[in-house]
């Protein structure tokens, strides 16, 4: 028993080291005074200063945040609608088709999604004059498509183990739709909506491939800027940027865990014996 514990501990340590040592090294090197990314030249916060002065990076970060918020919000609204239809409307015609199509963007190669959306936007522009050019709005639409799929999956899982009689109780007490949804269903789904939104935001913030296809001049997201910079050689500025992003993500994660953890553990009543 004892030996096995030792093996497990070593394995875990190695695994986590693989994951986190590079990140720690990167964070340390973001304080490197040297201009060369691979040579240590003493401590300095110089690159953070330069990063703050770099309008291109700051603007890209702002665009990424904007795109992320909008795509996650649109995706959450539509994803929740899909999940609701799939789990509450019973067996309707085309249910299987909807279920398949809703989740397809998850497994679709990004290149395919990006290219097909690009083609769609071009055709629409030539035929209807909208969207005029490509920029933030086209990226938001593109990102919302896959955000929607992820949210639909998360919310549907939550709805599946939600006690449906709670909604019936609201109806029985005199509420009709959509109030049943807003009074009872939505609060019960809140944890799933929050995690769906956060996942969507992260995926959107992270996306390089699809954004590269559907963005236009003047609308470069942060990953696009980072990627183009890295191709010219890794600058310590990028290390600083990445460190800031990690700190931000860790802070958001900690906040949601502290707030949501208690509520998620609330006990549920056993399911009713139907029929």
């Amino acid at each position: 028993m004892k030996r096995r514990g030792w093996v497990v501990a070593t394995g875990a340590a190695l695994g986590f080291a693989m994951l986190y040592v590079p990140i720690v090294i990167m964070m340390i090197y973001s304080f490197n005074a040297s201009k060369l990314a691979s040579v240590w030249g003493g401590w300095s916060a110089r690159w953070y200063g330069e990063l703050m002065a770099n309008d291109q990076v700051l603007e890209a970060a702002w665009i990424s945040v904007k795109v992320g918020v909008m795509a996650a919000t649109v995706g959450t609204v539509f994803g929740t609608m899909i999940a609701y239809a799939l789990s509450r409307f019973g067996r309707f015609r085309g249910r299987l088709l909807l279920a398949g199509m809703a989740t397809a963007p998850i497994v679709m190669p990004e290149v395919v999604t990006g290219l097909s959306l690009l083609l769609l936007f071009i055709i629409m522009e030539t035929n209807f004059g909208w969207p005029a050019g490509r920029g933030v709005d086209t990226i938001v639409i593109a990102h919302a498509t896959f955000c929607m799929a992820f949210v639909a999956v998360i919310v549907q899982a939550r709805m599946a183990d939600m006690d449906e009689s709670v909604e019936e109780a609201a109806m029985d007490l005199g509420a009709r739709q959509p109030w049943v949804f807003f009074d009872v269903t939505l609060p019960a789904l809140a944890p799933a909506l929050v995690s769906g939104w956060l996942l969507s935001f992260t995926l959107s913030f992270d996306d390089l491939v699809i954004a590269s296809f559907v963005s236009g001049p003047g609308a470069s997201t942060l990953p696009m800027v980072v990627f183009s910079k890295v191709r010219l050689g890794v600058s310590p500025e990028i290390n600083a940027l990445a460190t800031l992003m990690i700190v931000a993500v860790a802070a958001i994660l900690a906040a949601t865990m502290l707030r949501g953890g208690v509520r998620l553990s609330a006990r549920r009543a056993p399911p009713p014996d139907q029929l």
Binding site: S165, D172, L173, A188, A266, R268, P270, D273, Q274, L275
Partner: protein, 381 residues
Amino acid sequence: MSQTAAAPAAAAAGRDRADGRPFIRISGVTKTFSGFVAVNDLTLEVREGEIFCLLGGSGSGKSTLLRMLAGFETPDRGRIEIDGQDMTGVPPWARPVNMMFQSYALFPHMSVARNVEYGLRQDGVPRAERAERVARMLELVKLTPFADRRPAQLSGGQRQRVALARALVKRPKALLLDEPLSALDKKLREETQFELLDIQEKLGTTFIVVTHDQEEAMTLGDRIGVMDAGELIQVDAPRDLYEYPRNRFIAEFVGSVNIFEGRVVEDEADHVLLGDTDLGAEIFIHHGLSCQMGQTLWVAVRPEKMRLTAARPDDARNAAQGVIEDIAYLGGLTHYRVRLDGGKTVRVTRANVERRHADGLTWNDRAWISWPPEAGVALTS
């Protein structure tokens, strides 16, 4: 208050409300779920102010019937009337009945008081009246100190009372209770049964209770309707159901019973005699029956109405000898299992009225079982 004005009168009538007028009328209702007949051409009248229990196993259609009353399922055929009002096409939120769900279905994100208040809010009851009615209802179910708690912070029994208060606060014409006590442990269940009766008596609301627990049905119900495979087999007061079961299904479903089979060998105006029985002796039925010679009949005898004696009983009717195979001493009662010489096992229950039985019957003793003719019920099906 206008609706509850009649309540004291109903409550004054106490447990005996046999004279109540038909209040809920279910006529010829059928419900099919993709080929499976859940409720089959069912007709039933529930009287005002009574507690009516629908008793049946799982899949008997009792819950479906309750859900049709609440409006969650639509009957394929037939019609449901509540207080003279046709419920066809009336959605759940517009029906004058409320339901208490098996899972309680409390709103987890609302406090106890908000849960109870929810129905009044939907009806647009003014704030002051809402607060007053909620406070009174919480007092009735003894939950006033817990008004600000969330359901997750309550015990099972307290949650059950929140569900009850929430369903009653709208003063429904009938309260539908789906397995109201099934989620409680045995001791709490017994207490809660009497609390439910108490509350029902105070308010005089008609209760329709769905349960699979026959003891629960017997304690709560003024009348019990036993359901099987979507049909009502018998509707009667608890005592009549137990003492005068209509057929073998009812006899076996409600309480425990010994059923003996035999064929009619003597059919007189004042008695019937069964021969070729699995008792191993002739069975005497002390009243006339419309039957034919040779027809198979059954006689049901409750274990507590059987006699167990060491010697052959004097009247020597409906008696057979066997070996005591098992004894379960429960304090107040003792259950015996006797294997008759013919092979059939018979259950006998004796009340332990004395500290020890004078006959001292014990395991593997030979003994006689018998019953007086009036203890048995003759069944034709």
